[in-house]
Amino acid sequence: MSLVKLIEYLRNRLKTVVRLCWVALALLVVADILFVDKEHAHTAVEHWWGFWSLFGFVGCAALIIVSKWYGHAGIMQREDYYDE
């Protein structure tokens, strides 16, 4: 099946794929700084360079860390917790 072959092809070149992704991310931030009209932004912080990139990254890390802390504070229990 061709779809499996495509995924296999990409997996065999994982390093290149990852490098391309980093390049794409960098281009995205650069394009945002150079070309995007920020006239309609609602707040001042949105005018910072790469604000939404930072928001995405920090938000993601914060969500993971806070949720895991919350889970390990007693919310996560063995799977047979409710069994009698």
């Binding site: 499996v4 009209d37 993601c60 409710y82």
Partner: protein, 597 residues
């Protein structure tokens, strides 16, 4: 009305009553034909008020057709087609019948013009969908079904109490926008009934409990109808209710936090329903035309992409028998197309440009910013970070890739699902992309089309903002991958209170109450039973010799009747429910037919 007005829900109910008696060959086409007819009927509805019936001096309205009810009616009946296509190969008739009654309940509630009719269909939804949980047949499903029923009956009672109170003050059963500025206790009771179905914390725990336990295609139906009917009811009755804004934002984040901890892929998706419905609830609370448009648009898009996601994970469950991340991994070799479809669902829910969520979710966020509620905008943005983190990344990664190697038998069972499941997923995927690419299709259906026409999601700023948020979330995901590896645990949620509370009640019933009962029983035995037995023995002698011969024939027939009756009353709640349910269904059909003449 003098002419017959065919209610779309009636087609489904009649179909459900006929289905079990059809021969095998006809069943499959019939399973597709009925939902298609319902969809066609919804398309041909004209605006207005139909199906009036006088009941005990009240005017009941079965068919209120306007822009708001039409957008929901459209997507519900469309989803019914997809759901039936997906479960076409399921041999168990009970599931199809239950699903049709369930959809009929939802569609009936949407077109209901008064509280009584709304309540009738509202309860039909709860009592029919529970069979989609029980049909799974596991020991856990039985408990989950009862908990589901318990919670929904409680919510229904709150709704009923509020309705009666409201009708008493206002003097009419009409279901319309309540006076949200001067909310009365009755309004709050009705709202509690609605937000329980919308799964607003702390009234939400039924949702992951039930949707994680239902059958693989039962969940596809359930994820679409209950919560979105509640969103419709909130749009209709509570647009502009301030308290819904913070509740919606809390919901959006609450679901995301629990999704981090979740090990079962369908429960994870269930927590993301809570999160996504949070956007809609917040939109209803904002109450501006743009926000209500956003809530409706998001409900529309949500039904499709969430259905698609549940189809993808349901296919994995159906083929491998597993839904836990810790038991799955590396399935890309075996189920590549299921992966692609699920990924499309994931990109849609995450609001990637060109996918459906992008054109609907942003409307609510923009409405928040426009109302100068900055915290609403930013917190909803944070929730969309979490959405992509889980549904766009965690689900596909840990099922189809990841380092985990599933057990041998799981691996051997894994394969692409039957054609009809693939077809349903492909159709849903196409719709998700179509909505994302061609905005007028959805925007023209919204309650305020002129406001929607002025909204343009594809501005350079919005696209750049979204791409940055989502792609840098992906960076965070891969950098913190080790922390995200699923653990074989369950997370305690608000259902703890009634699960443990129920257990405490049982213990109480067993120990002190049982002791009192035994004591009273003993008194009864000494004081009453022993003398009674003596008399009985004497009477028995008399009976044996004299009356027996005459009565024997009569006794035999009584025993036969008794055996028949015992089936009905041997305490099997499910059997009683089916029985009661059948009677209720017959009544509804009679009602609908009478109502529409």
């Amino acid at each position: 009305m003098n002419s017959f007005w065919l209610h779309p829900a009636l087609i489904l109910i009649l179909g459900a009553l006929v289905l079990p008696f059809l021969p095998g060959r006809v069943k499959r086409p019939f399973l597709l034909l009925v939902p298609v007819l319902v969809f066609a009927r919804v398309l041909t509805l004209t605006h207005g008020s139909f199906g009036h019936v006088s009941f005990l001096g009240w005017d009941l309205v079965f068919g209120r057709v306007d822009r708001l009810s039409q957008v929901f009616g459209y997507i519900m009946s469309l989803m019914c087609i997809l759901g039936n296509l997906y479960g076409l190969h399921v041999k168990d008739d009970r599931q199809h019948v239950a699903a049709w009654f369930y959809v009929a309940g939802s569609i009936g509630a949407i077109y209901a013009g008064d509280y009584l009719t709304l309540f009738l269909f509202w309860e039909l939804m709860a009592f029919s969908s529970v069979f989609l949980i029980w049909a799974r047949g596991r020991e856990e499903s039985l408990g989950a079904g009862f908990r589901y029923l318990l919670v929904h009956v409680a919510g229904g009672l709150s709704l009923l109490a509020g309705m009666v109170w409201h009708c008493n003050t206002v003097g009419s059963w009409e279901f319309s926008l309540t006076d949200v500025q001067h909310a009365t206790p009755a309004t709050y009771l009705i709202m509690i009934g609605f937000i329980l179905n919308a799964a607003v914390p702390p009234l939400h725990a039924w949702l992951p409990d039930a949707y994680g336990e239902a059958t693989f295609n039962g969940s596809v139906f359930m994820c679409a109808f209950t919560t979105k009917t509640a969103v419709y009811a909130l749009c209709r009755g509570f647009a502009g209710m301030e308290i819904l804004v913070p509740l919606g934002v809390i919901m959006a984040l609450y679901g995301v936090v629990y999704a981090v901890l979740e090990n079962d892929c369908r429960r994870l998706l269930a927590y993301h329903i809570i999160s996504q419905v949070g956007y809609m609830v917040a939109g209803v609370g904002l109450g501006t035309q743009m926000a209500v448009n956003g809530a409706c648009a998001h409900a529309f898009a949500h039904i499709l992409y969430k259905g698609l996601l549940f189809m993808g994970c349901g296919a994995v469950l159906h083929m491998t028998g597993e839904s836990k991340f810790t038991e799955l991994g590396g399935l890309w070799r075996k189920m590549p197309w299921t992966f692609v479809f699920t990924l499309i669902g994931g990109l849609s829910i995450s609001a990637f440009p060109l996918f459906s969520g992008f054109v609907s979710k942003s409307m609510i966020v923009a409405a928040g910013f426009e109302e100068h509620k900055l915290w609403v905008g930013f917190l909803l943005m944070l929730a969309s970070v979490g959405t992509f983190l889980h549904t766009g990344l965690k689900v596909p990664y840990f099922i189809w890739f990841g380092k985990n190697q599933p057990k041998r038998e799981v691996w051997e069972r894994a394969a692409e699902p039957p054609w009809n499941m693939n077809a349903a997923m492909a159709l849903a995927s196409v719709l998700c992309i179509f909505i994302g690419c061609y905005t007028p299709y959805l925007y023209k259906m919204l309650p305020y089309p002129e406001v929607a026409a002025e909204y343009h999601p594809y501005t350079a700023y919005h696209v750049s903002e979204t791409l940055q948020i989502l792609l840098f979330t992906a960076v965070g995901f891969f950098l913190l991958l080790k922390k995200l590896v699923p653990e074989p645990v369950i997370s305690l949620d608000c259902d703890w209170f009634y699960r443990m509370g129920g257990r405490a009640f049982l213990t109480f019933a067993r120990k002190p109450v049982q002791a009192v009962d035994t004591f009273v029983g003993e008194l009864y035995r000494l004081g009453g039973l022993i003398p009674l037995m003596l008399t009985a023995r004497l009477a028995g002698l008399f009976d044996n010799y004299i009356i027996d011969g005459a009565v024997d024939g009569f006794a035999r027939s009584v025993r036969r009747l008794g055996q028949r009756l015992r089936g009905v009353q041997r305490g099997q709640v499910q059997e009683n429910l089916v029985f009661a349910f059948g009677v209720a269904a017959a009544l509804i059909v009679a009602f609908l037919i009478l109502a529409n003449w």
